[in-house]
């Protein structure tokens, strides 16, 4: 790991992919992409391509998993075997089990679970192509899919990472920066409630760098949040136009 190929930030402050320190990768969002799901969304975040589908609320099976006072969210984050450089076995890895759990826990605070006792929803996330920051892009898409399913929510959940490369705190690391960089801090928030619903970190950061990274990630989240709301509205404006055509 010590032989870094080159500097990750050049003298002018540009990163390997040409971005500035606080610049996001291009994000594209689409809602309602899966005909069979109750709610769905597709995200392209840089080279990440991720589908999220929501099924439910429906009766839980096995039944003993249901809760008498609220809805249960089940979540599966899964990577396609061809989504990464070396083929990934389709069997769930320990990393995927952990990410499924933290993604679920990042979404739970946003849903009015108590309105649907004894039921459950399934959130399925398929990473078709990965390029660093898949858990964040997955959360952004999954939250949109839950909204698309018409489930009452307190706010959308949106996620973005910040990190440190070459002694600089930067926004939204892509794969190479994640592997060669010093730290990665994924953050998920509900912007209107000022609530952090996911926070993880690996790598080493001094306390003040950590504070910078969290603030930078939150700013990034807010930018994606605007796109998220637009994507949700778009689905319905298109439907209206189609209705007018008929």
């Amino acid at each position: 790991m010590n032989e870094k190929p080159e500097k990750l930030i050049d003298k002018k402050g540009f990163r390997l992919d040409g971005r500035k320190a606080d610049e996001l990768r291009p994000v594209k969002l689409e809602v309602g992409v899966l005909p069979n799901a109750d709610g769905s969304a597709y995200i392209e975040h840089g080279k990440n391509k991720i589908l999220a589908g929501v099924f439910g609320p429906k009766e839980m099976h096995p039944k003993h998993l249901s809760l008498p006072d609220r809805m249960v969210i089940r979540c599966r984050y899964h990577m396609a075997p061809f989504s990464v450089q070396e083929r990934k076995s389709p069997a769930p890895s320990r990393r995927e089990v952990e990410l499924s759990k933290v993604i679920r826990e990042s979404l739970e605070p946003s849903v009015f679970l108590e309105l649907y006792p004894r039921t459950g929803i399934d959130v399925f996330i398929e990473v078709l192509q990965a390029d660093g920051g898949t858990r964040c892009a997955s959360i952004t898409a999954a939250s949109l899919a839950i909204a698309d399913a018409g489930i009452p929510m307190r706010d959308l959940v949106v996620a973005c990472a910040a990190g440190k490369i070459d002694d600089t705190v930067v926004l939204d690391l892509y794969d190479a920066e994640d592997k060669l960089g010093a730290a990665d801090v994924p953050v998920a928030i509900m912007p209107n409630l000022n609530a952090v619903t996911l926070l993880q970190m690996d790598g080493i950061l001094a306390p003040e760098e950590f504070e910078n990274a969290v603030n930078m990630a939150i700013e990034g989240c807010k930018k994606i949040y605007a796109l998220q709301k637009e994507a949700l509205k778009n689905k319905y404006t298109i439907t209206k136009e189609e209705a007018e055509e008929e």
Binding site: V102, V196, D202, I204, E211
Partner: protein
């Protein structure tokens, strides 16, 4: 998970914490007493048992030879596994590891890995072919809350207790010599978990608090006082100011624990 604690109890815990007190008599920022015992499993290359209040975690280290990962041909391999042994709690079931034990193992792993606690560069026998593999097995013997901190402390204590056989390489073959050396280490991370109940933060939640708390945040602090791993858990949320508050609280608690353990 909260099914084990009645609503009455939940209210009691919340009301006490609102007044700055906890059911077990601690203040909100008090850590339970930590007891560490090292080297109790002679068959293992290293071992440690940590008692955090009534939470009881045993960690055994086995060191074997194996092949390195292709992208780090000159470095030894570290693997962490956690077993939530059924005798430790009625909520633990026998069977393959569930998401809780996988998450626990990965949090302990991240703290050790990201702080570079094990000097893996010194565990290479033959570049690209043979390296030492350090197996860290976390065994939870009694669950009374905050398994993360107890396991992390036990894992680092066990690594500090680990003796590697002396060896030399003869015609590409590994030959074990007499005597032992300590496992090469570069850092000793301390992990501290803070829970959130209502709008209050509590350090080192015990079992009943864990069952009613909204969310938790665990941070690992290395020897230099920098943060090297974080995990938020639970289906609640923190406000950004609390995140910063927690990072400061954890620094302070980690320093105190480090001093107490003599790390």
């Amino acid at each position: 998970m909260s099914s084990l604690v009645t609503r009455v109890r939940l209210k009691q815990i919340e009301q006490m914490i609102e007044k700055g007190k906890r059911l077990d008599g601690r203040g909100l920022n008090d850590y339970r007493e930590i007891k560490v015992e090292q080297g109790l499993i002679e068959r293992a290359e290293g071992s440690a048992r940590v008692l955090l209040g009534k939470t009881d975690v045993l960690v055994g280290i086995k060191v074997e030879t194996g092949t390195p990962f292709p992208d780090t041909p000159n470095e030894g391999v570290q693997t962490v596994n956690a077993e939530l042994v059924p005798l430790a709690s009625p909520s633990f079931e026998p069977g393959p590891p569930d998401e809780n034990s996988i998450e626990l193992a990965r949090i302990v792993d991240r703290g050790i890995r990201e702080s570079k606690a094990i000097d893996t560069g010194k565990l290479c026998i033959e570049p690209g072919k043979k390296v030492f593999v350090v197996f860290v097995d976390v065994y939870v013997l009694n669950h009374d809350g905050n398994l993360i901190d107890a396991s992390a402390i036990a894992a680092v204590s066990a690594l500090m207790n680990t003796k590697m056989p002396n060896y030399e390489i003869e015609n590409g073959e590994l030959k074990i010599k007499t005597g032992y050396t300590s496992l090469p280490m570069k850092s000793h991370p301390v992990t501290v978990t803070v829970g959130k109940i209502g709008s209050n933060l509590i350090v080192d939640p015990w079992l009943e608090e864990e069952q009613v708390m909204d969310a938790r945040m665990s941070m690992a602090i290395n020897d230099d006082g920098n943060i090297c791993a974080i995990q938020k858990g639970g289906s609640g949320y923190f406000i950004p100011q609390q995140v910063i508050e927690i990072s400061k609280l954890v620094q302070e608690k980690a320093a105190a624990i480090r001093k107490k353990l003599g790390w």
